[in-house]
Amino acid sequence: MIIMGFSTLQTFPLIEGLTGPQTLDVLHKRITALGARVSGQFVVDCETYFSAPSLLPGNSQRVLNVLHNTEEPASVFAILEGGAKQPVLVADTLLDALLPKMAVLYTSNKKQTRIESKGNRYEMGDFVVKLGSVTMSGSFKGILVEVCYLACVVPALCWEMVWEFMQSFLGSTVPSTLPPYIQSRQNATFSPTDTIQMYLEKFNEFRKQTVAR
């Protein structure tokens, strides 16, 4: 598997009195002023499938999340929630062709559960920044900022530096500790599945938000 640096992900609250696109624009100006340049677009999307009620013993339910990341164009990530473990399967893109075959066993309501983060991708030195606007079933939900440091694969080794970088354009919104997901594995080698798991975590948070702007 290709290792691609260390990524961290955080939400960015809307700036008082500004809309989502306006807030993104402010961020865009800040980061380009620092010297970053736009290097294209990115999308991370997530489709969710639910196991049929009688499929598993004891009427327990599994939630199958299927995620794509433009950073890993040849892979599809499947994360299963609801069980004791939360396994991640990385497969090639034909997995998307397989999913309709289990339509009765794992069902999805595409219009209501599809969520994605989409926006500009910036590069500056060995840093990659992705400013994503999160939409669920077409409506704007918030802003997700992914910051990736390509040259280091162990979070514990470079977190302080990445934090310094994030502060330079995200200001005080940057939490001073590592994201909870990374904290438990900060000395392990980071991989793209870790990035995708953090996205799923954030997506789930957005889904739980009762008030959608």
Binding site: Q41, L55, T70, L80, V88, A91, T93
Partner: protein, 216 residues
């Protein structure tokens, strides 16, 4: 500025334009172990990989089923390559899960069986993942044999092994399976004719036919 297109949308577009090779044209048969070498010899002459060493393979295949719900089940064939190629770690060997659709026999005029086939390469934790999803293993077997190519056609000659205990594999029957198949996008029926013609050349050594599964 071009918008980033998600991978899923790309695949959907590809499916709509019928360029994803997910249709398998298939003929099956068997050859007695005693005549296997004759067949191999003939295939070496007919197939494309004349100059190179014939490719060998050894796969362990597990058959997993999910369901039934409302009478519907899903069967997946999880394949693990057991032959470690030089320079490769066992953990690097590819795993695939395969979906095989309802085979269509068609009438006499159709030269081969046609079935939907989706091969998905994936990480080695696929068994654990599927079992978390609710899949149950039905049975498993081992295939060991040779692979030939002829244009887009794939010819497999392999022995099937079954196990009673964990690592005690025993050969099944005194024959090798012979499989002739082409994976093609939807609507490429012309390749079926190629498959039939090739099968004709192997007669009378092997009778490659459309298997009628209902009669098995």
């Amino acid at each position: 500025m071009c918008a980033a297109i998600s991978a899923q949308e790309k695949l959907q577009a590809a499916m709509q334009h019928k360029i994803v090779p997910n249709q398998e044209y298939l003929l099956q048969g068997s050859v007695l172990d005693s005549s296997k070498d004759v067949l191999i010899h003939r295939l070496r002459g007919l197939a494309d990989n004349v100059d190179e060493q014939v490719e060998t393979f050894q796969d362990r295949e597990r058959v997993l089923t999910l369901g039934p719900v409302s009478g519907q089940t899903l069967t997946l064939y999880v394949r693990q390559a057991m032959d470690v190629r030089p320079g490769m770690d066992q953990s690097d060997t590819p795993w695939t899960m395969r979906y095989i659709g309802q085979p269509e026999l068609g009438d006499k005029s159709r030269p081969t069986v046609l079935r939907n086939s989706i091969d998905v390469g994936c990480t080695p934790n696929v068994l654990e993942f599927l079992s978390e999803m609710g899949f149950k293993q039905d049975y498993e077997f081992m295939c060991k044999g040779l692979m030939f190519r002829k244009g887009r056609m794939k010819i497999l000659v392999y022995k099937v092994y079954k196990n009673k205990t964990a690592d005690n594999w025993e050969p099944l029957s005194m024959s090798h399976v012979v499989e002739l198949s082409v994976l093609a996008p939807q609507g490429h029926d012309a390749v079926a004719e190629d498959v039939r013609n090739f099968a004709e050349q192997l007669k009378p050594l092997v009778q490659l036919e459309k298997t009628d599964y209902r009669r098995l």
